[in-house]
Amino acid sequence: MNEKPTDTLDRAQTPASREDTPIDLEAAFRDANVQEVLDKLDRELVGLKPVKARIREVAALLLVDRVRKGFDLTAGTPSLHMSFTGNPGTGKTTVAVRMAEILHRLGYVRKGHLVAVTRDDLVGQYIGHTAPKTKEVLKRAMGGVLFIDEAYYLYRAENERDYGQESIEILLQVMENQRDDLVVILAGYRDRMEKFFQSNPGMASRIAHHIDFPDYSLDELIEIGGLMLARDQYRFSPDAVAVFRDYLVRRMNLPHFANARSVRNALDRCRMRQAVRLFDGVRSNMTVKDLVTVTPADILASRVFKDGTLDMDKPPPRGA
């Protein structure tokens, strides 16, 4: 890119010679520091191959679009609103945060923050309550990404006077007219999201990118567990890995299994049990190693092993 497209010399060029201008895509890629975010995504998130591939595609599209802009080859701002579908705990929120960062680095959002909301943040309780609530959220999300979790709750087919419809209409308007100001990501279960799009064609037509998050395999869940422990400066004892695997096999068959979130919760409980074990046990000749090690006993104490039920008296609606 040695000539500026706007200078006189360039304008004097014939189209053919202009089209021969060499382009250093590699340099553009480097300048945007996007690789860094993609690498981080790769490092910090286990599995998710299709998701990572889709994000790469979106990044490539935006990068090329940006380089084209440098040559006055405008194609209109690409629509960037997305939908992330998948079961609970498959990493949708986490990836959305990274997406915001990528969009920011490529200059498609000005600030790069993520505002995560659900129906309750957008929809009011009485007439005249919804519009200000939705606008409030939109104002906070301007310059960044608005992440609407379980977006299908905005639409209640059984009640045509539901206030959710009002919120959807405001969202649609902003998604269309203020594409430069914010990107909207809708998230939720795949089947319910598909139904939502079917009954809201306006919304469907504004979503350019659909990314599906698959469930994790057993091996991936174990790897995620190891990664989570390592991040918190813990580790499994050598014999604990097999026990954790056993735990996961059982847990996956119980209700409210929420992929990586269930792993996170199981590990939090393991840490609790480990602490109690250290606290109640012989406190002499303890070492730092004891402080960082999760042993089979810490996992086996779970009720999942004892009587095949969840570790809570009352499981919460999502992810235990």
Partner: protein
């Protein structure tokens, strides 16, 4: 007569782009913003009407511009200003306040003389616009 009130008022009116840049500056400083409007231009009129509530936790000027434009649309011939409040010192202090909309025609002020005892003359200014009732002034 162009009213000069608040920051930047001796400059030509700010363009939307300049307003956005100022708002971004406020947001970078962590200030909360709000929009106010009035049709009483007297410099001592500190009680302008609030356009909605103050805005906290915004990251980008586009959010504030949404309200600025909504207020302009509702009151195209009023004065509209943007205020920013700095709460970092433990009190809500106006850090900046500037006009972002004004009536197309500003008739200005007349000088009023009042005879007081002992040959004293008191002077005050009176805005021609306020001769008409509120809401019908511009």
């Amino acid at each position: 007569m162009k009213i000069t009130q608040g920051t930047f008022s001796f400059l030509p009116d700010l363009t939307d782009e300049q307003i956005r840049a100022q708002i971004d500056y406020c947001l970078r400083n962590g200030w909360a913003l709000n929009v106010e409007f009035t049709d009483d231009p007297h410099p001592r009129n500190t009680y302008w009407e609030m356009w909605g509530l103050p805005m906290f936790d915004l990251k980008d000027a586009a959010g504030v511009m949404l309200e600025v434009n909504a207020c302009r649309k509702a009151y195209p011939n009023h004065y509209v200003k943007v205020n920013a409040y700095d709460s970092t010192k433990g009190r809500e202090t106006v850090a900046i306040s500037f006009i972002v909309n004004r009536p197309k025609k500003e008739p200005g002020f007349g000088l009023v003389r009042q005879e007081a005892p002992g040959r004293t003359i008191r002077y005050t200014i009176h805005s021609y616009a306020t001769d008409k009732p509120e809401g019908d002034r511009y």
